[in-house]
Amino acid sequence: MSTPTVTRRRTLELGRVGETVTRPDAVPKTTGQFKFASDLNSPGMLWGHTLRSTHAHARLVEVDIAPALSMPGVHAVLTHADVPGRKTYGLEFPDQPVLAIDRVRYHGEPIAVVAAEHPEQARRAAAAIRVEYEPLPVVSDAEQATEAEPLHPDRPTMGHGYRDDPRPNVVRHMVIRHGDPDATGEVSVEGVYEVGIQDQAFLGPESGLAVPDGEGGVDIHVATQWLHVDRDQIAPCLGLAPEQVRVHLAGVGGAFGGREDLSMQIHGALLALHTNRPVKLVYNREESFTGHVHRHPAKIWAEHRATRAGRLVCVRMRILLDGGAYASSSTAVCSNAASFAVGPYGVDNALLEATAVYTNNPPCGAMRGFGAVQTCFAAEAQMDKLAAELGIDPVELRLLNALKPGDSLPTGQVVTGSLPTAEVIRRAAAIPTPDAEPLPRDPLRLPGGAGNTTHGQGVRRGEGFAVGFKNICYSEGFDDFCAARVELRADGSALVHCAAAEVGQGVGSVILQVARTELATDRVELASHSTADVGSAGSASASRMTWMAAGAVRDACRAALEERERSGGAEVDVERVYRHPPTTPLDPETGQVTGERAHVALAVAAMRVVVEVDVELGLSRVVWIGTAQDVGTAVNPQAVQGQIEGGIAQGLGLALMEEIQTRDGRIVNASFTDYLIPTALDMPPVVAELIEDPEPDAPYGVKGVGEPPTVVSTAAIASALRDATGRPLVRVPVRPDDICL
């Protein structure tokens, strides 16, 4: 390449809480020096590969590994018989086999794993394993699941404190009854809504390296969201004590919920312990689509009853979530879907029913927004419909019903913290939209883009609005905590240990900002994240990690300073555990709170969207997005903006293009050629206003910021498309046929 213009590296900013800080890993990530999980190597390393089911539901008649064992370069071929400990694992219930035992329940379920000298040898050896399947009826329709044969006859989800539903294939059924669910209003609107399966589509596919320690234990370097809960699932399956399994965070190429469940961890460890060699597994994109859980597809029946003046009287919603073959975090997604179904609005009466079922579809679990995305799409469509029915401006209708501190949620929980719903709505609505760009213009800025499909003919403009909210941190009585450890050295510098997973969101910066603030020094380093050095941080999920890590690091720093004071200036090494105020479970029969609160805090976002639709071809373009988001305190304003913009892009994808398509349970578009995510040409300019209303219960008043933009953006874009086309658009992603008039 010809001589590029280069500049000397600048010293990075060393900011405190509230300042924009350059992330510590930014430079190595731009130069290619940063080590992602897939970049790891170890002397003598073997490559692993996973043989996966080609059937969505089948009995395993025979798995013959002999042909693979004799292939060149092959060191191990393992099946369920080689799992020395517990044969199953799972985030909430251990219902998922490490390797299929007697049947497979989804297309892509792991059956065997191979280790070989070269990845291509491992792949070919896995392909040589002979599997005889006896196909079983595929349960692919969630609405039929409760009448089908049980996919898990031993009912692993029963008896855990949720409402035990006697129907087969129910993972969780919950009902929230609030006030008088039969209360009637002067007007009523009804709708049935659907959301397709969305994939996290993080750019860095699943990857990890397992290294035997020579003493029966293993070190696992992996891209994950929660090191300690990985360890706690891995160790029992390996038949090892937790301390014999050390999980270290390797560079994470995005997560968005898709790395909460295990992928290669146990498989890699089994192979490493069996061969006594380091073993690396790297999924390709196709395998990644079957190698992690997805966003639950949903069907939602909704009825909103209101007074003629526009006050909500009663909301009734029934939500069906397809959890796929294994439970993953379906119970919590189910709870969130019901708990936030109404949106950030006050309503005295509600009947909210959510059911998550087992099917033979791809397993679903955590994805950014976690149940609230699906219901926000339905509920906000209902609010627009109600506004139209009443002849009230949609923004006014939302303001009229805006939830505020002191109001009750449908669970009976009184909002005690910060929740500036009306402020967020007003601020978003006040952001001026751009004027329509005159024609002619470059086709890149028209629906159809580079396809050059219109010069403006048939193009209609529409504007939409939506509001969304969800919980921050873990809920329903979960013991939610985060540990941090601070070493103060004699020279005045500090080393901070925290297992909070840096998945790209920037929690590494947050930890350093907090430590610099508390210790009043710039000389702070962040240790690598590992189960070996510090207690659990909990998961980088539920918009909780900034809050929890900030609390833990703050407390550990303060304790370290006190300890040094007490000890007269010596070196100190202090670990502290932070917990947010406790939550309590919901009553399994009524869905009402059994204590003060089931959710510790809430965050709300409002969004205004301009779209253009070529109604002759069914092509659309999002022109502009304006949003206001309740962020508590912005620890790192630039990073908060980045979370909002990125969160919006994922919601835009669900609104317009992203859907895992299945046929009889098989994914038919497991590639970036066939599963489309937004590009730089799809994302419009975003104007984002940060509404800082500190959360009283949180360290520095912070709130998580990652999920609200994803919750609200799908609904807001759909609203704008409805405005442009006049179509009801009850399903996302919206397809060309839906908006072609």
Partner: protein, 152 residues
């Protein structure tokens, strides 16, 4: 088979198999893991490199094809302890989150700015539309490349 090529200005040799991509050869044989493997279909741009000065997806080029040719990867865009203006701007402007797409964006943006130091918004978006990012929503990447362009 044995190939020899110039990588980041240095003559290198590698033993590759016939079906091996340039991406795998760079990552696994030449110890240059900066180029990332995210789709293997030329859809995401994470593996972008310059082949004889032309921007390509290295996952779509066979290693055998580059015998005798010149490749520049993300590792070779700037000297030791130096940053290319695109790298500098992404770092300062919040254009990096998880970073898996970043090397590909750096190479593609550097290529764009070399050809067109002051791209219009349309030119910029179109030039980078072959690079997928899942974290940032592109705003801060586009702003950073604009800033890098005006800087250089």
């Amino acid at each position: 088979m044995r190939i020899s090529l110039t990588v980041n200005g240095e003559l290198r040799e590698a033993d590759v198999w016939g079906g091996e991509s340039l991406l795998n050869a760079l990552r696994d044989r030449l110890d240059l893991p900066g180029s990332k493997n995210a789709c293997e279909q030329g859809e995401c741009g994470s593996c972008s490199v310059l082949l004889d000065g032309v921007l390509v997806c290295s996952c779509l080029v066979l290693a055998a094809q580059v015998d005798g040719h010149e490749v520049v990867t993300v590792e070779g865009l700037a000297g030791e302890d130096e940053l290319h203006p695109v790298q500098e701007a992404l770092t300062q402007g919040g254009g990096v989150q998880c970073g898996f797409c970043t090397p590909g964006f750096v190479v593609a943006a550097a290529d764009l700015l070399r050809r067109n130091p002051d791209p219009s918004d349309d030119e910029l978006r179109e030039a980078l539309s072959g690079n997928l990012c899942r974290c940032t929503g592109y705003q801060k990447i586009l702003a950073a490349v604009r800033a890098a362009g005006s800087r250089s």
